[in-house]
Structures are given as C-alpha cells and as structure tokens.
C-alpha cells in the first residue's frame, strides 16, 4: 500500500481546503507527521492543511490573540484588503472634521475626513478614502499635511472601504500642514471662534433675522424650501441656512447643537439640517437684539465676498448710471459709484433707483457683497435698503488723500481691500519686469506672441514692474502698472523700451535692483488676497523717508532697550 492510498481519507480532507496541492506531497507530509512527529494522520490533518495553505500563499486562519499581528506596509489604498489591520502607509490629509459621537452610550470625541494615498504625487494620481479618527490625533492630522499612519485598520461598510485611525495608531507628520483643527467640546463656542474653521459646532446665539427662501435646483427638477437668516452673539454675527423648518422667531435666544460651519465663497455660514438640534435658551444676561444689531454693523475693511445682510454706512465719492440690454432683451439700468468710510473704500452697485450726490452719506441695511475684479464690492437690490443720512456720521473724508494705513501683515491676513497704504522692504525684482505685450482683445499678456484665448496677435505694448514686498513675517507680490512704473523710474515707456533695446534686459533689471532692492518703500494701492497669497496693485510707490534715528529710537522704546 502506498502512502497515497494509506492517507487517502486525510488527503481528501486537505484537498477540500487546498485545491491545487500535489497529492504525493501531502501524502509525504502525513507520513512525516506519523513517523517523525508521531502524530497519527487524523490528528495531523489540521496541521497539514495549515502548512499547505501557507505554502500556497493563502491567508491562514489565525487564532485571535495567539499570533502576533503582522505589520502590513502599503503604498496605495488599492493594495489593502477589506479586513487588513496594523497597516502602515503614507497619506495626505485633505479634511479633518471633529464631532462628538455616542459610542456604547458614551459621548466620544471622534473625527472624520478625507485622506489621499500616494501623497507625494499630484492629486490626479491619488485615490481618496474616508477615515475616522478614534484616537484624538487632531494635532497631527492637520489638513494639507502629509503623514505616515502606523497601526491603522481597514473598515468596510456598504461596500465602501475606509481607514480607522485607532487610539493605538501612530501618526507621524512628514510635512507640516495648516493649523490644527481644534477639538470639539460640548460647550457652545463664540461665533468668532466658530467662523475660523469648517466643521461641527455648538452655538448659543440670538436670531437676528429669519425668512423663508426657495432654492431652485440646477437641473430644473424643482425647488427646495429653506430658511435663511442671521445669528449673533457678542463676538459677531453669521448667516445661516436651514434645510428644515425653523420653529423659532426673530429675537429668540437659542442653543444650536451640531450645526455645520461651511464656507460660501469666502464667508462662513451655519448649515442646519435634520440632525441639528435647536432649542430655546434662557439667559437674561445675553445681549439683546438691539445691541447685537448695532454691534454687527460692518466697516468697508470687514467686507468679504459672499457676505449677506450687511449693515454699513458709506460716503459717496462718485456716482454713475449705465443702461444695458440683458440676455432676455430687456433694457436695464445699473447705477454704481465709488464709496468710502474711515476704514477704506469700495464700489457700490445699486439695482434700484437712487441718485445720491457726491459727499452724501448712505446707510445701507441688508446689502450683499460680491467680488468684482478681485475686490469685495457692495450691492443693494432695492431702495428700502438705503437711507440717505442727513447728519454726517464722521467728518467728511477727502477722497484725494483717503488712504488707510495698515501693516503688511494685516494686509496679507485680511481680505481684499481698496485704498490702502502699507510699508515693507523690496526683497525681489522679478525678471519679467519691463515691457510686455498684451492681447488687443482681452488685455491678457501674450506668451510667444500668442494669447491663451485669442491665438497669435499683434500685441499692444505695456510697461509694468513686478516686485516682492516683505516685512520679515509676511510677504506679497507687488505689481506696478504703466503710470506708477513711469513715475517710479522717471522714464516714459518709450525710454524704457529704448534702454532695454540698447543695453539689454539684464541691465535694465540691474538698474531697478540698484534703485529699490533691500529698500523700504511706502505703497498706496489695492490688495487682492486669496488662498494663493496676497498681491498689491500699487498706484504709487516711494522710498520710505523716515529717518533711521527715528526708527532706532522707536525700536528701543518698543522693546524697552537702553544703550
């Protein structure tokens, strides 16, 4: 009797589990167990099956707690199985949203968000998964950072896989991201604090305005009834949008649990849905609606794209009206002008009939803010929103020299503004300063004689200078158009062209460097700030004339230094 025949029953059992095994090999193994290890064939079946499963590379069924968990290192999400544990991989953190969740009757601070694999490559080469953070890793899981995750596990639910970052997982920051998302607390936060980040918050606020509204679906399939309004506390106000009916009225003090802060354009907004809890709250010390409405009056420097229900007072500098035909063939009139307040200047557009005179003071209630050419501008839709003040709220501002002085840091960290004046040192003269060619159609700069939209063109020559201005903590690009460039260089555009053609571009750049690099300058102009950084369009630039003695004395005074 051969081994194969002798162990036929056991071999059949092994073959049930491991289909591709060689029967002779299995027979040999049983023989070995029987003779070498002194284990009878029936008792050896389990061991033999395990052995052949391992040989064939199949996942072995391990007994919980008896085998050490093996670390699995992967580069991409697609390499992961649905029940992989103790996984190590590098990811980019896209979002991190903390929230409080009930876990087995206990309130737990958790967070969820998006991560992407292949973090060192561009986003189109990455895959994005959800994750849940059970281990309070908010300090290390900052949006925009790249981290190495160790000891995380895969979770599969409804055919969707995600990563669980556990209490025992390790998160190592490989590249710093933005600021950490603050952890949630049950305590309501101030509107000012809530506005800093997107995510879930609890608020204790008074309803300042509330009205039903209708959203028309983009695909034309119908409308959704919603509520819009404004909430306020002593730290500020914020608009809100509710997808469910709101059973409270204007003036009510309410506690809102589980509201979602979302950004609409550049403005944070509270989103309320069916999981949000709103209940009436009693606190006689909470600021009343009159005070809160007063406190929420904006200045021009506070305006951000997307703001609604803005209350602001402005002084009119100029006013025009313009007739145009809209896409429906109707003739429409739009009125607009330049307006100012002590904090700056902007444009005001009115879709209603008002004819203010230069120097009038207008009080606007319920205006909205829209971006136009990168600056936040005020828009009013009906004349009820406008009140022409008889009494001047401030001494009339002279538009000729109305420049609001702000530090470069405030400018870089604030919103886009017109009419600002700032100071900094020039730390770079860009090589594309000088004569450029613009597309005659759209004024965009031509590259190799060709416009991005309009193809090859005979360009229109223009002069501009590009610098970087820096105060040691922040920096901004600085662009001078033709007029300020000519003034700064004391040369006309023709003279610049002449000089470049005679002595070369490098010589021209060197000339500018000698004139302005490492010098402190004062700039008047407007700022455009977005998430790529800040840019200043200068209307005027001149070297700082304050003396070094004064500056040194000021420094010593500020830091209490004696020589």
């Amino acid at each position: 009797m051969t081994d194969k025949e002798r162990y036929a029953v056991q071999i059949a059992l092994v073959k049930e589990e491991c289909k591709e095994v060689d029967e002779d090999e299995v027979a040999k193994e049983f023989e070995r167990y029987e003779n070498e290890f002194l284990i009878p064939p029936n008792d050896a079946v389990r061991s033999v099956i395990l052995k052949f499963q391992k040989v064939s590379g199949k996942e072995t069924e391990s007994f919980p707690g008896t085998t050490a968990r093996v670390e699995k290192k992967v580069d991409r999400f697609k390499e992961l199985g649905s029940d992989d544990k103790n996984v190590t991989l590098e990811v980019a953190v896209v979002t991190y949203v903390p929230r409080v969740q009930m876990v087995r009757g206990e309130e737990k601070q958790i967070a969820f968000g998006w991560i992407e694999d292949n973090p060192w490559e561009s986003t189109d080469k990455r895959e994005r998964w959800d994750f849940k953070d059970w281990g309070a890793h908010s300090e290390n899981l900052r949006p925009n950072s790249i981290v190495r995750l160790e000891g995380v596990s895969v979770n599969e639910w409804n055919d969707k896989r995600s990563i669980n970052i556990n209490r025992g997982s390790r998160v190592t920051v490989l590249r710093e991201g933005g600021p950490a998302v603050p952890t949630l607390s049950d305590e309501p936060v101030s509107i000012e604090k809530a506005s800093e980040n997107e995510g879930y918050v609890n608020l204790l606020v008074r309803i300042i305005s509330l009205k039903p509204d209708v959203i028309t679906k983009r695909d034309g399939s119908g409308t959704i009834d919603i509520f819009r309004g404004t909430l306020a506390d002593s730290s500020g106000k914020i608009s809100f949008l509710s997808w469910v009916p709101v059973d409270h009225k204007v003036g009510d003090l309410v506690k809102i649990e589980g509201a979602m802060i979302r950004k609409f354009r550049e403005t944070p907004e509270v989103n309320v849905n069916d999981r949000t809890k709103i209940e009436k709250f009693h606190d006689s010390n909470f600021a009343n609606i009159e005070d809160l409405s007063k406190a929420t009056t904006s200045r021009i420097s506070d305006l951000r794209n997307g703001m609604k229900d803005v209350i602001v007072t402005v002084q009119v500098e100029s006013w025009q009206s313009r007739t145009f035909t809209n896409s429906d063939g109707e003739e429409k009139i739009v009125r607009s002008g330049d307006v100012m307040d002590p904090s700056g200047r902007c444009r005001l557009t009115a879709w209603c009939e008002i004819e203010p005179k230069t120097g009038d003071f207008l009080h606007l209630n319920g205006a909205r803010v829209q971006f136009w050419q990168g600056s936040p501008d005020l828009v009013v839709d009906n004349s009820e929103q406008i009140q022409n003040l008889t009494e001047a709220p401030w001494d009339a501002i002279n538009p000729e020299n109305h420049w609001v002085q702000i530090t470069l840091s405030d400018l870089v960290n604030g919103g886009s503004r017109r009419g600002v004046k700032t100071t900094g040192t020039i730390v770079a003269v860009k090589n594309d300063s000088g004569i450029i060619e613009r597309c005659p159609e759209c004024k965009r700069i031509l590259r190799d004689g060709s416009c991005q939209d309009h193809g090859p063109q005979h360009g229109v020559e223009d002069l501009r200078l590009k610098f970087v201005i820096d105060d040691g903590i922040n920096n901004a690009s600085l662009i001078l158009g033709k007029i300020p460039s000519e003034k700064f260089l004391s040369m006309t555009q023709e003279e610049v062209k002449e000089q470049i053609s005679q002595r070369g571009k490098e010589d021209f750049i060197a000339l500018i460097r000698n004139k302005i690099l490492a010098r402190k300058v004062v700039i008047n102009g407007r700022s455009l700030v977005d998430n790529q950084g800040a840019m200043i369009l200068a209307e005027n630039i001149h070297l700082d004339t304050s003396t070094n003695e004064d500056a040194a004395n000021l420094v010593m005074e500020q830091w209490g230094v004696l020589l």
């Binding site: 980019a92 896209v94 998006w114 992407e116 973090p119 060192w120 561009s122 986003t123 300090e139 925009n144 790249i146 490989l174 590249r175 710093e176 991201g177 950490a180 040192t425 730390v427 770079a428 003269v429 090589n431 970087v468 820096d470 105060d471 040691g472 903590i473 922040n474 920096n475 490098e506 060197a510 460097r513 000698n514 690099l517 490492a518 010098r519 402190k520 790529q532 950084g533 700082d544 070094n548 003695e549 500056a551 040194a552 004395n553 420094v555 010593m556 500020q558 830091w559 230094v561 020589l563």
Partner: protein, 319 residues
C-alpha cells in the same frame, strides 16, 4: 475640491550673522518643493533671509560646471554672513564678476543680499550654515543702517519671545498663551528641544551694537570699512585693537588670525602636525581672543579648507 498643496513664498527673516552662524539645527523639507529651514537658538525658522554688511571676502572658484563665487558679509554684530553663488545661477554671474573686480581692486563696500539658507554636514556631524545668494545689490549707508534697525527689532522680538517661553511648557498651546508670536512658535519648540540652554545676553549685545551704530554718527561704519581695508594688507595686524573696544574684539578681521595660524603650522618641524593647544596659544600671544582663534581654526579647516586635521587635535597645511 482640493488643489495641490502649494507652498507660499517664505518671508525673508531679518537676522544678524551672530544668530545665524550660531545655529546648527537644519529642518529638511520632505517632498517636492517643500522648503527647508535653519532653526536658530532664538527659534527663527530661516529659509530665506535679508542680510547685509561690508564685503569681507569674495572669491571665484572654477568647477566642472562653471564658476562658484563665495564670500563673507560682516555685519555689526561682528559675525560674518557666508554666501555662495552657484554655477547654476548664471543670471547672477555678470553682477558677481563686477563685484569681484571691485573687491580685488581693494574696494570695500556695503551690500544687501537676499539668500536662501543652506548647510552642509561635516563627517563628524557638525552643521555649517551659509546662504545661497538670490538677489543682491550694493547699497548706500542709510539702506544698510535701516536694515540694522529692522534686524535689531526682529532680534529683540525673538529675544522677547524666548524669554516668555522660559517659564512655559514646550507646546504650541502653552507658548501661545505665554505670548510667543504665532510665526515663532514652531521654530521655538524645535529650538528648545535641540539646543542646550544658553545666555541670550550675547544676542542682546549684538543688537545694542547695531542700534548704537544706527544712532551714532556714521563714523563707526566708516571705521568698519577702513578696518577691513587695512586687513587686506597683512602688515597691520595689531592696529585695530587700539581703536576697537572690548565688545568689538570679536569683529577683528579674521585674515590676521588666519595668518598667525598658518604661520605656526608652516614653521613647525613636527611632521604629524601641530597640536591644537599650541596653535591657540600662539594666537592668544599674538593678541587674539581664545574664542576667535578657535573659530578661525575651524573656519580654516571646514570652510576655507586650508588646513586639515588628519589626527584629532593635530593640524597640517592642506597642499
């Protein structure tokens, strides 16, 4: 929704040579375009810096890929800012040649420079910092003095932050509540984990020197220009000690002490090299401070590569 992470431009830290050359903690950026930094003892995170001084040394070396220029700008704290212009920066070579011609003709002048932090690590793990020039220009005195004032303010701000951090735990939250400005917190945490305790008074002395220069007549800066010019002729080795006070003894031109060191080694009969202690002794006898002599030996060994240390503590001329 997410666009690729962009690194915004790093601001130019205003920093004196003293603080930067003391630093030996690099923070290497991980990934493409991630910026790297040098972290100073006061917690400045330097990727880009705006610095200035009188040109003290400038030379060209020809390499396989083209010329490398390197030089020193000495500022009011007495230290030097080391900088290089690399072969792959041809756009700066024309200006560098012009400077070199001026420098070699014996002219000395004030310069301002924007540079990116770089470093190299010696075999024994020492970190040597310098800058790669980005843009530079010669400047008139008032521009340089303005930088002295601004850099004094920036240094005092860091000193103030450092002092506020002393009582505080080394974490973001604690430092924030201790009043450390946001832009200094990360560097402060790294610095405090890395550097052993030190006396920040030295940096204050540097600031006071700079401020007094900004306030006093311009004679001191002229003095600086003159004394560097003198140092180019090796004969006038000791004249300076009479004109400069104690605080400024550090700013004695390094050219002289280099000569002493090289002479000691050259004149030694010992084929194994000259012991460290006897070199320092010779320098001290020649009127240099112990500290500046030690710095000069390191400088000759690691930066200028004129001497080598084949055996620990013994030096030979590198032929």
């Amino acid at each position: 929704m997410m666009n690729q992470v962009r690194f915004s431009r790093q601001s130019a830290i205003r920093i004196f040579a003293q603080e930067y050359s003391d630093a030996n903690l690099p923070l290497e950026g991980v990934g493409e375009y991630a910026p790297s930094f040098i972290i100073t003892k006061l917690g400045a995170k330097v990727n880009r810096a705006l610095f200035g001084g009188v040109i003290d040394r400038f030379e060209r070396r020809e390499g396989d890929n083209g010329p490398t220029y390197s030089g020193h700008l000495r500022d009011a704290t007495g230290g030097v800012h080391r900088f290089q212009i690399a072969p792959f920066q041809p756009e700066l070579h024309a200006d560098a040649e012009e400077l070199l011609a001026r420098f070699e003709s014996g002219d000395r002048f004030l310069m301002m420079m924007i540079g990116r932090a770089r470093w190299f690590e010696s075999d024994d793990g020492g970190i040597f910092t310098s800058f790669r020039a980005e843009e530079f220009t010669t400047v008139e005195r008032s521009v340089y003095v303005n930088w002295l004032v601004e850099t004094s303010a920036a240094t005092l701000r860091r000193l103030d932050a450092y002092n506020s951090s002393l009582e505080s735990e080394n974490s973001v939250e604690s430092l924030k509540s201790a009043g450390v400005p946001e832009d200094l917190i990360e560097g402060m945490i790294l610095a405090k984990n890395h550097y052993s305790s030190f006396d920040p008074e030295n940096y204050k002395v540097g600031v006071l020197q700079s401020l007094s220069m900004a306030l006093s007549s311009n004679s001191e800066i002229e003095q600086m220009l003159i004394s560097t010019e003198e140092s180019t002729s090796p004969a006038t080795s000791e004249n300076n000690s009479q004109t400069s006070d104690d605080v400024k003894s550090d700013s004695k031109p390094s050219g002289d002490v280099d000569e002493v060191i090289l002479n000691v080694i050259r004149s030694s009969p010992n084929p194994d090299g000259v012991p460290y202690d006897s070199i320092v002794l010779a320098c001290v006898e020649a009127g240099f401070s112990r500290e500046s002599s030690e710095d000069a030996i390191e400088d000759l060994r690691d930066i200028k590569c004129e001497i080598i240390e084949p055996r620990f503590g013994f030096f030979q001329i590198l032929d």
